[in-house]
Symmetry: none
Subunit: 265 residues, 2 copies
Amino acid sequence: MGMAQWHDRTPILVSLIGRPDFGPALDLALSQVAAFDLTCVFAYPGEERPLLLHDGLRGVSSPAIMANYLNGTYLLDAVYAACRRPVPDGLYRLRELAPDDFFEGDYFKSPAVHPCISMETGTLAEEIVFIAALSPSTRLAYSLMRQNGRETFTETEMEALRTAAPMVTALLAQHWRSHVPADGAVDGALLERAFSSFRPGTLTAREQTIVSLVLRGHSSLSIARLLDIAEGTVKNHRKHIHAKLGISSQTELFNLFIGHLIGEA
Amino acid sequence: MGMAQWHDRTPILVSLIGRPDFGPALDLALSQVAAFDLTCVFAYPGEERPLLLHDGLRGVSSPAIMANYLNGTYLLDAVYAACRRPVPDGLYRLRELAPDDFFEGDYFKSPAVHPCISMETGTLAEEIVFIAALSPSTRLAYSLMRQNGRETFTETEMEALRTAAPMVTALLAQHWRSHVPADGAVDGALLERAFSSFRPGTLTAREQTIVSLVLRGHSSLSIARLLDIAEGTVKNHRKHIHAKLGISSQTELFNLFIGHLIGEA
DNA sequence: GCGTACATATCCCCAAAGGGATAGTTTTTG
DNA sequence: CAAAAACTATCCCTTTGGGGATATGTACGC
């Protein structure tokens, strides 16, 4: 069954946390426990679009299909639904996660939506997935797939993979934690407090509003639309802000703010 | 023997990497494999003074003795010598590491130098130590100690601990890597640490260099002059960085980094 | 009433960043 | 050794930001 080999390899996986070859190494180590053909890791952060964190699809899924999936068809994915439900950390068969009629529906059969299932070379024998929580609202999904013509995973294999699951989910979370935007951190209370304690008195209320929007990543045009004023007005405000703070670029503004954040800590 | 319990607990240890309760949890998990009374983790970075990273000494070592050790008597320590030699990662008995006359020398017998050995309550039955490399010149040492009146570690216990050693050393390195100033980093400031822990694995070394310069406020031209490459090359790197991080502007890069800073706190 | 500060808005010009495409050289890695 | 990845470089074109100058409306206080 290969559990001994699995235990032998886990220390190596731990040492590869945070390194670029972690994904391939995880594939390799798990292949000692049970055979599979394709893998991938997606993050489903909050209500945002998924991120492809690891691509073990061997080029079977075209870039166009992947782009489709990331742009919207993921909403129809049973794995996505499970991550939103959410389910506890562990190993799941796709058949368990999917509604009864899933495999009869348009999604599964469409050749243009799923990055893994619908490939030119045929259909999948089975997909199983490790699900790991990164935060209350973010889940990682590590899929193992068997291609057409092969058997489904036996219960013996599943049992061995289930034994490995606690380690797999812990590894997934540790390695990819820093690759996924933190839970609402960018508009969290911490950031709010940092904004309001940033140069109070020097800037007018309106200017503070504009600074906080700039720091959140908005362009002048985007700010103008948000506040329902002209783009030129926003640019003018930014000009005044720069003059007051004694800086001459957005970059310096970010630097001031980073210094402010660190100084507070 | 407890190897089954050990394997059960390692996933929890992995999930605690980077969290404050990792040290105690490691002590607890290893105590299932073999009994011991006291523990501690030191880092020996380059040629600098050691750092006490984990204190499982239960107050047996006085602050004064610890200060002495950190200030200079560590130079006489056999564990320090082993880390400077250096020895390969693994588990060692202190008796193996020490020169033959070590236990007869002034160091071992002095009541004022060793943070663990010389305590009021008596002497040690034995000390064993896991040594893990953090970098070519930095080693971590995780000591397990049995107090007076107990037996030394049996060969059976040592064998069990040696089986666990690859995982233990990998865990040590991962958890405490960010606690020890990077190799040759002059100041190892907060900001430096934040830069180096920003999306590891996603970006190449060169790309990380460019990101850190951009975040410091440099323009493409300024970076080009600093690195003595063409401005277009810098712009190209930035293009690739944006693609990898899934963003499309400097502003978003700053946002990611601010989120990273806040997320770490 | 008048000055001041603030928010709004427009024009022009230049510097910088973003992005597609392509390609030669070096380094890493299997 | 051969393939892959990374680093280097250039061309061209669009979008965004930065800054000078200027102007109108509005709210507040003296």
